[in-house]
């Protein structure tokens, strides 16, 4: 008898309870690590007025960009909303439909890590003296200026792994790892799509990247799509 089993049968069931107005961290740096099948399930599910926390704002009209295009995202917190083939977000931003909180990439990563680690705020040298310091507390420590930045959390995290086990331990593939391990720690509900879901013991405890304690739901997506391939094939979702 398996007493801990975080598997969910489908991406649709994994995202079924995401309500309007939710904040959602979405893994990925460009297309690497983007949990496209979970995002598409979220598009099908219909939740709107979402706040998305992700490094980029999607490309083409699939995955994250498709979620924007469906006008489901009222705010995005990210470091680099412009990407190759990124046309959807710029339009929504200029129109004033989607608000942008621009955060330096390292500050974004550290804010997410802090949110997951119970650190409410920290000081950083990044962005001192720039427009992104406006409105932020400036403090001199050991003779250098730093900004106060706050931990960031979300209601949900959607990420993509390579292998997960039923306890929620996750391994990633190469640079698809990027934001996923820290985002897994910083949401009330963390949902992982993995190409393979295995029994406990399949992953060497020495090599676990995301320990299962951070993961709530695991769904197997055996052959995940890649954004660039969908775009090359002319796919627009839905």
């Amino acid at each position: 008898m398996r007493m801990i089993d975080k598997r969910v049968p489908s991406a649709a069931e994994a995202v079924a309870d995401i309500a309007d107005g939710s904040s959602i961290m979405v893994g990925g740096f460009g297309e690497a690590g983007s949990p496209i099948e979970l995002i598409h399930a979220l598009i099908d599910q219909g939740a709107s007025d979402l706040t998305i926390i992700s490094n980029n704002a999607g490309s083409g009209e699939v995955g994250l960009a498709a979620l924007f295009k469906e006008r489901r995202v009222s705010k995005v917190i990210c470091s680099f909303p412009k990407t190759l083939n990124s046309t959807v977000f710029p339009e929504l931003y200029r129109e004033g439909f989607t608000e942008l909180e621009l955060v330096p990439q390292g500050t974004l990563a550290e804010r997410i890590r802090a949110g997951g680690a119970g650190v409410p705020a920290f000081y950083t040298p990044t962005a001192v003296g720039t427009p992104l310091a406006e409105g932020k507390e400036l403090r001199v420590l050991n003779g250098r200026e730093y900004l106060l930045e706050f931990g960031l959390r979300a209601d949900y995290t959607l990420i993509k792994g390579l292998i997960a086990d039923t306890h929620g331990n996750v391994l990633y593939n190469k640079t698809a790892r990027n934001f996923a391990p820290i985002m897994a720690t910083a949401a009330d509900v963390t949902i992982v799509q993995a190409a393979q879901v295995a029994e406990p013991g399949a992953i060497d405890p020495e090599t676990v990247v995301t320990p299962g304690i951070f993961v709530d739901r695991v769904v197997e997506v055996a052959k995940p799509a890649h954004e660039s391939e969908l775009i090359a094939a002319g796919v627009c979702y839905p």
Partner: protein, 220 residues
């Protein structure tokens, strides 16, 4: 008094077993050193708990056979342990990110004193010649979702451990949710200590006599 506490009340094993019954299936649990460690022996039928040890292991298993221990696979009490299937090793900052970030469901700790407002003292007598040592206790009480204390109701000298205000240095303020003693299970509520269950054969008045603060009776 001493003789009485030996002849009435739950044994340490019974206290641990009683506590284990209140842990839901699938909980992530950190067990402190001493009586808390006994809880691991009493996982109720049909449940799995995942044990965290702050020195970098989730999915800690039971002690190995005598002589089969690995000096590099130990728990926070520095005893030899094992790793279950599905375990994970990680470094200390990640381990305390789990603790401080509210990812653990339950911390089970021993106590020197518990105040009626949930204050806990369990790391120092505050005596001038004591070597202060705190370990991870302050992090656990600050970060874990629920804190259960498991302790004898009174000290060896017969002094109550449940008090109006702690006289020893605090580990944390207002952090204890529930106490499992040899005499009773007691919740810390906004109104103070409230008895949840009495040990069979022990009456409310007996527990009150040995408690340094007012007790509220169990709610119907």
């Amino acid at each position: 008094m001493k003789q009485q506490t030996e002849t009435i009340g739950w044994t340490r094993e019974e206290m641990a077993q009683r506590l284990a019954q209140d842990i839901p299936n699938g909980s992530y649990v950190n067990l402190g050193i001493g009586i808390p460690e006994l809880v691991a022996r009493f996982v109720p039928e049909g449940r799995t708990f995942i044990y965290h040890t702050e020195n970098g292991l989730l999915g800690m298993g039971p002690s190995p056979a005598e002589g089969a221990g690995d000096p590099e696979l130990i728990n926070a009490g520095k005893r030899h342990v094992t790793a279950n299937l599905g375990a994970a090793y990680f470094h200390h900052a990640d381990s305390f990110a789990m603790i401080r970030g509210g990812h653990l469901d339950l911390s089970v700790l021993g106590a020197m004193q518990i105040a009626q407002n949930g204050d806990l003292a369990n790391w120092s007598t505050g005596k001038a010649d004591a070597i202060p040592a705190v370990g991870g206790a302050m992090d656990l009480v600050a970060g874990v979702k629920q804190v259960f204390v498991i302790t004898q109701h009174c000290t060896k000298a017969g002094e109550p451990k449940l008090v109006e205000a702690c006289s020893y240095p605090l580990t944390g303020q207002g952090v204890v949710d529930r106490i499992y003693s040899d005499l009773a299970v007691i919740d810390v509520t906004p109104d103070g200590f409230r008895v949840v269950a009495l040990c069979p054969g022990v009456d409310f008045e007996t527990v009150q006599e040995r408690t340094g603060a007012p007790l509220l009776p169990a709610q119907k």
